[in-house]
């Protein structure tokens, strides 16, 4: 057995406060705790009941994104939260952050946005950190070479009170992605293909490291799209070794170390990579050059097919149930299905380059009659940047709705929902039954595929419109 270690093992080892034994899990230190309004109220209540303080408010970053409205308003003061319980939840978040001394990027903050968008945007998500959040898409921050994973509300309470978690060490899974992506094929298509290959439980109990020249060639926003959906393969986390792309992205962001501290941080970050002869518990290889734009046809993100390929068939009851729900016919490609709603946004694909991808298709074109298209920037910063580039006018001219930032139609808990029975092409991460609204039928796709589908009114290969 060599001493060579993986990136995951290096980050893990650096954060062990108390080593694990047969009787007790390891105590792992958390460098960044992201919190939002939906999964924290019960954790703060526990702290109040026990008279506990937040140990490190300075390592806690708070925003509101899930139940916040995205209807366009002139001022944040006009934002009308949908439903009394959501309004109450938002008030509690404001009270909890104030009472426990946590800075909140709330309504009115120019930095508010989806928690997994603003962490990187502020430069808080950095290589080598341990990052957690009461949200499964925390895996997003692994794009920076951080060990980032979702936790439940009880564990949110643990981190608030102790800045630590009790954890058993997961296994490691290398996903090697090689070759050059064809034009019109994006990071979203890559991760959908990976989930299709290993299955929605293929990563259970594992931390994935995405490796290979196809991953190295991706920009940071694309890497975030890949790592974001690690949880959709069941993985505990997904990460990518930091390189020049990572460091260039982080340079000059508000929350990175400054001056000499930046230089020393960069030296440390450059040492964070899996050793050449490090052993992974499992390895999977994907040829990126063979991929085409991918879409889902069923009710989990592993039920995925090339946009022009026939939907597969299987006899088991769960598979049949999914096809019945989706009203999809085996043997026919998804590209024959008419579209009612198109959603561009979410922590998976709500960043500036995603909006540019969609705008590139929509420029000079119109959203098809009868199709509703929502474009929801991932953060208020992205909204501002997109407006500086004039993207909002492209969307508006095409007939799409340009919204305030938030999770929106990804999970439909803020009033933005897909009506029952309607088919939605969505750049989000989950096509579960009812995820976007009761009876909603979701097809996951890249921003380019979503925009092309909005234009034609059918699920469409974006390469046909370029």
């Amino acid at each position: 057995m060599s001493d060579a270690t993986t990136l995951f093992e290096k980050v893990w080892t650096e954060h062990v406060v108390v080593p694990e034994t047969a009787e007790t899990p390891a105590v792992i230190y958390i460098d960044l705790h992201l919190i939002h309004e939906v999964t924290t109220p019960q954790a703060f209540s526990l702290l109040r009941e026990r008279g506990l303080a937040v140990r490190r408010p300075d390592l806690t970053l708070a925003t509101m994104d899930h139940s916040t409205p995205t209807t366009p308003v002139a001022s944040f003061r006009d934002l009308a939260v949908v439903g009394e319980s959501a309004a109450n939840q938002i008030r509690q978040m404001e009270d909890n952050c104030r009472d426990f001394g946590i800075d909140l990027y709330g309504f009115g903050s120019e930095h508010r946005g989806i928690v997994h968008v603003i962490g990187p945007e502020l430069g808080a998500s950095q290589p080598g950190k341990t990052i957690v959040c009461g949200d499964s898409h925390t895996s997003t921050h692994g794009a920076f070479g951080a060990l980032a994973f979702g936790i439940g509300t009880t564990e949110v309470g643990h981190v608030l009170a102790t800045q630590c978690l009790l954890q058993r060490k997961p296994k490691s899974l290398a996903v090697n992605v090689s070759g050059r992506l064809a034009a019109g094929v994006t990071a979203k298509d890559v991760i959908l293909a990976i989930i299709g290959e290993i299955g929605v439980d293929g990563g259970t109990g594992h931390v994935i490291e995405y490796r290979g020249d196809a991953i190295r060639a991706l920009d940071m926003e694309s890497r975030m799209t890949i790592c974001n959906m690690s949880i959709e393969a069941g993985a505990r986390a997904g990460l990518i070794g930091p390189d020049d792309t990572t460091i260039d992205y982080l340079a000059r962001r508000p929350r990175v170390p400054q001056g000499d501290a930046w230089e020393s941080a960069v030296r440390r970050w450059r040492s964070l990579c899996s050793d050449d002869d490090a052993e992974f518990d499992r390895t999977v290889s994907i040829d990126a050059s063979a991929l085409q734009p991918m879409v889902t046809f069923g009710t989990n993100p592993g039920m995925v097919v090339g946009v022009n390929d026939p939907v597969p068939d299987a006899s088991d009851a769960s598979f049949r149930k999914a096809l019945d729900y989706m009203q999809v016919t085996p043997g026919k490609p998804m590209s024959e299905n008419p579209v009612d709603v198109v959603f561009v946004g979410s922590c998976t694909n709500g960043r500036l380059s995603d909006l540019q991808q969609a705008a590139g298709i929509l420029e000079g074109r119109k959203v098809a009659d009868g199709v509703r298209m929502l474009v929801v920037p991932g953060s208020q910063q992205i909204k501002r940047q997109a407006e500086e580039l004039g993207l909002h006018r492209i969307f508006a001219d095409a007939g799409a709705e340009w919204r305030e930032s938030g999770c929106s139609m990804c999970l439909g808990m803020n009033g933005d929902t897909v009506p029952s029975g309607q088919l939605s092409v969505s750049t989000s991460n989950r096509n579960f039954e009812g995820r976007q609204g009761i009876g909603a039928r979701t097809v996951l796709a890249s921003p380019a595929t979503a925009a092309a589908s909005a234009v034609t009114g059918r699920v469409t290969d974006p390469r046909k419109l370029t």
């Binding site: 009880t154 505990r236 989950r430």
Partner: protein, 194 residues
């Protein structure tokens, strides 16, 4: 958290794999700020049609399943969202254990922290349980054993610390708080600060 040492109950079976936490409790019920009263929202859109009427073909709506404390479900139960509202809803409804061939990591963690026991069994046992809904099972949490109606006992895997907390009815925060000296030392001596 109540201590869970033994459990004897009939099963209710959901013969579907990859049941995600959105199906266990849809997101629109997540605006609550408490843990209580979520049983009514459990499997809401599978249990009720859009007019609010019970769906006759859903197992939980069969009067014979009332009072069952053990749920048997398909592979990869609890995948998707990290919402702890999923085990809260299952517990509030009355379930104390879920049996499957595999659980999603976060759901499994969340369940153990709330006194809901996730039991992993082999494929053959699982197939038999799926084909025979309503059988009575006995679970001894202390010895991690599941006893089938024919008297055969299966040992299921469970983390030793989680089992200790379950059987004692204690939560894990107390243990973590006892580590505060080690945590303070770690914060002071680590080579770089976040």
């Amino acid at each position: 958290m109540d201590a869970l040492t033994t459990l004897r109950s009939r099963t209710v079976v959901l013969p579907v794999r990859d049941i995600d936490t959105d199906q266990i409790i849809p997101a629109r019920f997540l605006t609550t700020t408490t843990r209580e009263g979520l049983g009514e929202a459990l499997f809401h859109d599978l249990r009720y049609d859009q007019d609010g009427a019970e769906r006759a073909d859903f197992a939980l709506n069969d009067p014979a399943t009332r009072g069952c404390e053990i749920l048997v479900a398909g592979n990869n139960f609890g995948c998707g969202s990290s919402r702890e509202h999923a085990p809260w809803a299952l517990l509030d409804y009355g379930f104390k254990a879920v049996v499957s061939t595999e659980f999603a990591d976060i759901f499994r963690n969340n369940s153990l922290k709330n006194g809901l026991l996730p039991i992993i069994v082999d494929v053959d046992t699982h197939e038999w349980l799926m084909a025979n809904p309503g059988v009575e099972l006995s679970i001894d949490v202390e010895t991690s054993r599941l006893e089938l109606p024919d008297g055969r006992a299966i040992e299921y895997p469970i983390d030793a610390f989680a089992r200790y907390c379950l059987t004692q009815g204690i939560d894990q925060l107390g243990y973590l708080l006892q580590q505060s000296d080690a945590i303070a030392t770690f914060e002071e001596t680590r080579p770089w600060k976040p």
